[in-house]
């Protein structure tokens, strides 16, 4: 018994610190098209792949949609960067990569400096970009600091707009024709 307790104590002493550092991804929220949200992230977290300082968001989009993402710094000291992935994850943040697949997520793109700084003074620009969605489902957005003035945590605003595919006139006419044919068949069967 004494030996068992000693082993448990040793295991606890060894594993607890590791467990204490484990930090699965926690989403700050679900983005709704056209509704800006605010969050905060650490100053170099995106640039240096420091997942603990990243702010994670998710949204749902359909194939054919065009999704536009923008992040604006709410303090001039912050220089935000953004990465978009297909899927969602509960992986540990230590696996975070701003430039590739990780934690079961499929990397889509990274954004940095596309907009002139939202507030001045401040280094570099803010992320902004549009994406053609080819696969319906959930997506993850990671927002963090690129090259901010320091490693501190700073606020930002994130905006997602999702524009659904608008059918071409020819497509609409074809659809109407198809529906008409189906309706006629049903009527004949019923008759």
């Amino acid at each position: 018994m004494r030996f068992r307790n000693a082993v448990l104590a040793l295991l606890g002493a060894t594993l607890l610190p590791l467990l204490a550092h484990a930090q699965p991804v926690s989403y700050s929220g679900t983005l709704v098209s056209g509704s800006p949200a605010t969050g905060s992230a650490a100053g170099f977290s995106w640039f240096l792949d420091q997942g603990a300082g990243i702010s994670f968001w998710q949204f749902s989009a359909n194939a054919g949609d065009t999704v536009t993402l923008s992040v604006n710094r709410l303090n001039g000291n912050f220089d935000p960067g953004l990465s978009l992935y297909r899927g969602t994850t509960t992986a540990d943040v230590s696996a975070f990569s701003s430039t590739g697949n990780w934690g079961g997520l499929t990397f889509v793109a990274g954004l940095d400096d596309e907009h002139a700084a939202f507030m001045t003074p401040g280094p570099n620009g803010d992320p902004f970009g549009s994406f053609a969605i080819t696969t319906s489902g959930l997506y993850t957005v990671a927002v963090g600091g690129s090259l901010s003035t320091d490693a501190g945590s700073y606020p930002f605003r994130i905006t997602m707009t999702d524009v659904a595919a608008v059918p071409e006139p020819e497509t609409t006419a074809l659809l109407a024709l198809g529906l008409g044919v189906l309706a006629m068949r049903r009527r004949r069967r019923a008759g």
């Binding site: 170099f44 640039f47 303090n75 000291n77 401040g122 690129s146 003035t149 320091d150």
Partner: protein, 561 residues
């Protein structure tokens, strides 16, 4: 017990000589009063018997203890930050007096020198004025570069201060202490490990202990606490002062921080950038004569932007001179041996040095040297020592790391590696100074626009950052001011007029509430006489009013950019 008189302001000692020496002597980063020299005097120059203002509080300048092992040498000291559990000795908060001796400064101030060892290897030397010379104040003198040496704080003691210096916990200024056992026997396949204790001691512990130990000794020796405590440093000394304001806001009432090396990781990662671009774009080092040619062309192109043609660029951020497109000095026919012109590759390299370190997408990683600054400090025949020491002993722990392996393609990774390894320990850039402010501290920061070692936009960026989190520039003015000095080099030197009385401006601000509306800068004119100019609280800058001599500070005003 007597009411001890404080120092009266006197004309400055000639700061130019020491400053120029500092800027040119091997281009080493300079400290405050200890590790080097500042453009200002390191300490007030009044002698202890100067008549002048009296402290509101009485000061006992007569020692209660003798200056020997049985007296001050028998005092029990404690460090308030213990060694790490992994250090030998572990968890040790002791501080041991290793030596007590007497001395006299060159101006005749007698002092008691107490040498203290804080484990594992921090040496702190405290000079306690005797003979009634103590002015009631403490002054810690900052170091330069990687520090690594300690001496008597003569400048401070001469002015009646208890003067303190430290070696920051290691011996020698090569930077190898960042790696356990100085990375002896390590290489890329077998890298060393960071010496967290020695890095900690260098980053902040030793500087904090200067105040802790100094105040304990003052209490024991004079029977009271110092009425005011000050930090005085430049370069590394500037970083140290800023770190104290951020992390130990109660240590010092007033801080003078010149050319602060507070973005230690990033500006030092930049320091190898000029060598890399010269190697790639120009095929190797560019001669100093060619660099001077480009610098002079930039000055000629941008001198008048500030309204005065005086051979000095007022704000080099407004200068966009590009040697690549200047056909008067850049010629396809030019050779590397011809110092009267630049080859296209040389012009490209110099433009990239000024343009700052960037990734392959053009993102600015760190701002570069300014147009007007001497280029041969970082873009000389060989790399600046720290630019190579940091990657070897603080980033890759590989003494064989070869800077010539850097390319435009892998530079960003090098920059990231540096940030990951060095920033968490060495960054002294926290913009939240509210604790220091709430304690009534006063802070004067300054830097030369022609700093040839630490990129000046780092200090303007930091001041901007503090303004961004603490209510804007106007909210900082009552307690924190930053002065940019046109044409002035690293901690002094350069073609611009040199800042004067910087440290005394801090003292006056702390003790009399007299904020420095301007700092006067001066230089001797070739034809005789002296030019004076005001340095203005950033972001304002001096502007000529349009009449009167441009050599007289009275004909300039501080104007917003």
């Amino acid at each position: 017990m007597a009411s001890i008189l404080s120092s009266r302001r006197r004309p400055m000692r000639a700061g130019l000589g020491a400053a120029s020496l500092c800027a040119t002597a091997a281009l080493v980063a300079c400290g405050g009063g200890g590790g080097g020299s500042s453009a200002s005097d390191a300490a007030p120059t009044a002698t202890p018997d100067d008549p002048g203002r009296a402290f509101a509080a009485a000061v006992n300048s007569t020692p209660l203890l003798t200056c020997d092992a049985a007296g001050i040498g028998g005092v029990h000291l404690t460090s308030d930050i213990a060694t790490l559990p992994t250090t030998n000795p572990p968890n040790d908060a002791s501080a041991t007096i290793t030596s007590v001796s007497t001395g006299t400064t060159s101006n005749g101030v007698a002092y008691c020198l107490v040498k203290v060892l804080v484990p594992p290897a921090i040496n702190i030397w405290v000079g306690l004025p005797t003979g009634g010379a103590w002015n009631g104040r403490l002054q810690s003198e900052g170091g330069g570069g990687y520090a690594g040496s300690v001496g008597v704080a003569n400048a401070s003691i001469s002015a009646g201060y208890v003067g303190i210096q430290t070696d920051t916990g290691h011996t020698g200024g090569s930077g190898t202490f960042g790696c356990i056992d100085n990375c002896a026997g390590n290489n890329a396949a077998n890298p060393g490990k960071p010496d967290v204790q020695l890095q900690t001691d260098f980053a902040y512990r030793s500087e904090h202990e200067m105040a802790v130990i100094g105040k304990q000794l003052i209490q024991a020796f004079y029977g009271q606490q110092p009425v005011f405590s000050y930090w005085n440093g430049c370069s590394t000394g500037g970083r140290q002062g800023m770190r104290m304001a951020q992390q130990f806001p109660a240590d010092y009432n007033g801080i003078l921080a010149g050319a602060p090396a507070f973005h230690w990781d990033r500006f030092q990662a930049y320091q190898i950038w000029p060598q890399m671009v010269m190697r790639i774009d120009a095929g190797g080092p560019i001669s100093t004569a060619k660099e001077t040619l480009a610098t002079n062309a930039a000055i000629a192109a941008c001198d008048a932007i500030d309204g005065v043609s005086d051979g000095v660029i007022g704000d080099p951020r407004q200068c966009s001179y590009n040697p690549v497109t200047d056909a008067t000095i850049t010629k396809a026919s030019c050779t590397s041996a011809d110092n009267t012109c630049l080859t296209p590759g040389e012009a490209s390299a110099i433009q990239k040095i000024w343009g700052g370190a960037r990734n392959t997408s053009g993102k600015l990683l760190w701002p570069g040297l300014e147009r007007g600054a001497a280029l041969n400090g970082l873009a000389g025949a060989t790399p600046f020592a720290i630019a190579v020491a940091q990657p070897r002993y603080w980033v890759y722990f590989d003494p064989t790391w070869d800077w010539t392996t850097l390319t435009y393609a892998n530079y960003e990774q090098f920059f990231k590696d540096t940030m990951r390894m060095v920033n968490p320990m060495m960054a002294s850039e926290n913009p939240d100074l509210s604790a220091f402010h709430n304690l009534g501290g006063k802070l004067v920061m300054w830097q030369g626009w022609a700093d040839q070692l630490i990129m000046p936009e780092g200090s303007t960026m930091y001041y901007d950052a503090v303004a961004n989190v603490m209510g804007g520039y106007n909210a900082l003015l009552p307690w924190y001011r930053h002065f940019m000095a046109p044409g002035v080099g690293h901690c002094g030197g350069g073609v611009g007029p040199q800042p004067q009385n910087l440290f005394q401006s801090v003292v006056d601000w702390v003790e009399n509430g007299t904020a420095p509306d301007t700092i006067t800068a001066s230089k001797s004119l070739a034809g005789g006489g002296t030019q004076t100019r005001p340095l203005c609280p950033y972001p304002k800058a001096a502007k000529y009013i349009g009449s009167g001599s441009t050599d007289d500070a009275a004909n300039f005003t501080c104007a917003a950019p």
